[in-house]
Amino acid sequence: MMGWERIDTAKGTSCRVWRHGQGSPLVYLHGSAGILEADGLLSALAREHTVYAPELPGFGESSGEELLEDMLDFTLHGWDVVNALGLDRPTLVGHSLGGMVAAEMACVCPERVEHLGLIAPAGLWMDEHPVADIFGVLPQSLPGLLFHDPAQGAAALTGGVDFSDDDALVSFFVENARRLGTAGKLLFPIPNRRLSKRIYRLAARTAVIWGESDRLIPPVYASRWGQLIPGAEVVLIPDAGHMVTLEAPAAVADAIEKLLVR
């Protein structure tokens, strides 16, 4: 079974969910760029699992973002989606913004999360290692922050939009404003909503997966997550940046599979 389906949450949001594959349920929470067509990770994960990738309100064709304002809203929204999908204890995997939400979900309902995959998650802050400000750069500078290979990455991020074309730039701006405007509720101006105060509750077996060339959230944060989650496996992936999900999908999927047999 594969393709898009739509769910309505108890709170009133309406979300598209990309569903693919067969096997144990795995819920994948995307990052600030949304669900990208080029995302090889989803298909890689779908070989062993039924993958559910809900689109966050404020992204693409999913709506109701005005109902989500703060960290608790987004965390409970995550569980509302899992409930609407009729799942009990799915494996949770999240990338970047989605990783932040997945970690919060695991702190709020530790009994419902056995396995947790955090791919370059946001949510921690160290003054001596500031996370780059995605809200204070021009769109054409984003690939340089997000990819090990920015030239290859730019096309995947924008679906081939040519940023040297002013009209294309403006139209990307409008779409981007909605996505990043929503993400900003959790990430602006500092991507820290005090998860570190709650992380002691996290009981899941956890893999922390990071691209070694991540220039948005530097890999030093991988060690920090490793310190805060006892027993977490930290996996660094070479030749990949923050969008490790696009640049090294097989390696990421491999790390998730290893987590699940632990």
Binding site: E65, E69, F135, G136, V137, L138, S141, D166, L169, V170, F173, V174, N176, A177, R178, R179, L180, G181, T182, A183, G184, K185, F188, P189, I190
Partner: protein, 422 residues
């Protein structure tokens, strides 16, 4: 017509290679470019100019709020306004305005504006901007997508704080206050005239019409480019069934007056170019935090003005481009008079914020231009809009028997002066 003399208070010592060597004039401007000792002289020079405008008969004198900004040295316009309230007695004091979403809690604005209104004898025009994205989001850390919601709550709270005679509890999303009891209250009741400075967000239009607030379009693009946006505003005014009093609208315009057109170029061109080339060197990545503008506004195309291309254009403009494109109204009193008429009629506005100190203009040139405008331009324009003569719904209503602050020079007791006078 109402003419408000305005000074953005720019820093006049940005280096020649500012645009090439520096990232932005705003948000992350190099603080080493500021020198407090020079700043001391500058604040006094700029405040003296505002007082000079009052003495020449301008209807109002105006200040505004910017943060971490090389062309706006007023993080707190209320401090400047308080100084002006003590040293003037005729002109309206236009604070355009306080970014009400940034004050915690926003009753601070209700209090300070009430103080200004009382000190000035009821001369306050109260501006409530949402605030630019640079100020509000990047400098003051407000979450872009929630900024407008927070603004609306602050607005509701301030209006109630001014109006309600009894202490009340306010259970807001961003402000919880058990006892709101603003003290003192403003002289002007139920509230001072409210001005909403806008940069092009279309939902602001409905807000202005529904509340009977003045919509002030502030841009540096000039009156020719501003027409498209103000036409949209007036269309909305008509749709909502409000009357079309020109005093519902205001516009900020850079104006330079000299003896002749040639003298205007000779005297002012370098300073105007300083403003457009250096002061408007804002890093485009700070122009519009995602979520700050609503999707509706973005789809309406207001973003076009903020595009990087527009930023680039400013630096390439020559004096001729600036004058012909209406960015700047400059020339002899006759030229300025004609072009002001075009602007006032074209935009259908009753109030002009006259930007008469620009960039690094020295004091004498500012005063020269200001005096020529007051003596040779203003008198010819004051009676425009005869059909709306006396429409003072958006103007201050000072006490008739307000004090003349000039009498207290030297700290002498007012009673002493009164006795001496008798």
């Amino acid at each position: 017509m109402k003419f408000v003399w305005f000074n953005l208070m720019p820093w006049p010592h940005l280096p020649d290679d500012f645009r090439e060597k520096h990232h932005s004039v705003w948000v992350d401007i190099d603080s080493r470019l500021y020198d407090p000792a020079q700043g001391h002289v500058l604040y006094h020079e700029y405040m003296d100019q505002l007082e000079y405008a009052d003495s020449l008969g301008f209807d109002g004198i105006g200040v505004n709020e910017h943060h971490q900004n090389g062309y706006g040295l007023m993080p707190s316009p209320n401090i400047i306004a308080a100084g002006l309230a003590r040293r003037t007695s005729k002109a309206a004091i236009a604070v355009i305005g306080n970014s009400i979403a940034l004050y915690n809690p926003p009753v601070r604005v209700a209090e300070e504006f009430a103080m200004l209104d009382v000190i000035s004898g009821g001369r306050l025009l109260a501006g409530f901007p949402v605030g630019t994205s640079m100020d509000t989001n990047y400098c003051y850390g407000q979450i872009p997508a929630l900024t407008r919601d927070k603004y609306q709550e602050a607005h509701t709270l301030i209006r109630r704080a001014w109006a309600e005679p009894e202490p009340f509890a306010f259970d807001g999303k961003y402000n919880q206050l058990r006892y709101v009891n603003t003290w003192p209250k403003p002289i002007q009741q139920p509230h001072p005239p409210i001005y909403i400075p806008g940069g092009g967000s279309i939902e602001t239009w409905d807000f202005c019409v529904e509340n009977d607030y003045n919509y002030s379009y502030l841009s540096f693009g000039g009156y020719i480019a501003g027409k498209r946006l103000l036409d949209g505003y007036w269309e909305r005014v008509a749709t909502l069934g409000a009357d079309e009093s020109p005093y519902r609208g205001a516009f900020a315009q850079i104006i330079c007056v000299a003896d002749t057109d040639a003298e205007a170029e000779e005297l002012y061109a370098e300073h105007i170019l300083y403003f457009y080339n250096r002061c408007l060197h804002v890093f485009p990545g700070f122009a519009d935090a995602p979520g700050y503008r609503t999707i509706k506004t973005l789809q309406a195309g207001a973003l076009g003005q903020l595009r990087q291309a527009a930023q680039r254009r400013f630096s390439e403009l020559t004096w001729k481009d600036l004058v012909e494109g209406g960015y700047v109204i400059a020339g002899s009193p006759e030229t300025v008079r004609d072009r002001m008429k075009d602007m006032i009629e074209g935009l259908h506005i009753g109030t002009v914020f006259c930007l008469m100190h620009n960039g690094n203009m020295p004091d004498w040139k500012t005063r020269y231009s200001t005096r020529l405008f007051a003596e040779k331009v203003m008198p010819h324009l004051q009676d425009m809009w005869p059909d709306w003569k006396g429409d003072d719904r958006w103007w201050c209503k000072p006490l008739d028997n307000r004090l003349d602050p000039l009498e207290t020079v030297g700290g002498r007791a007012r009673s002493e002066l009164t006795e001496a006078g008798q």
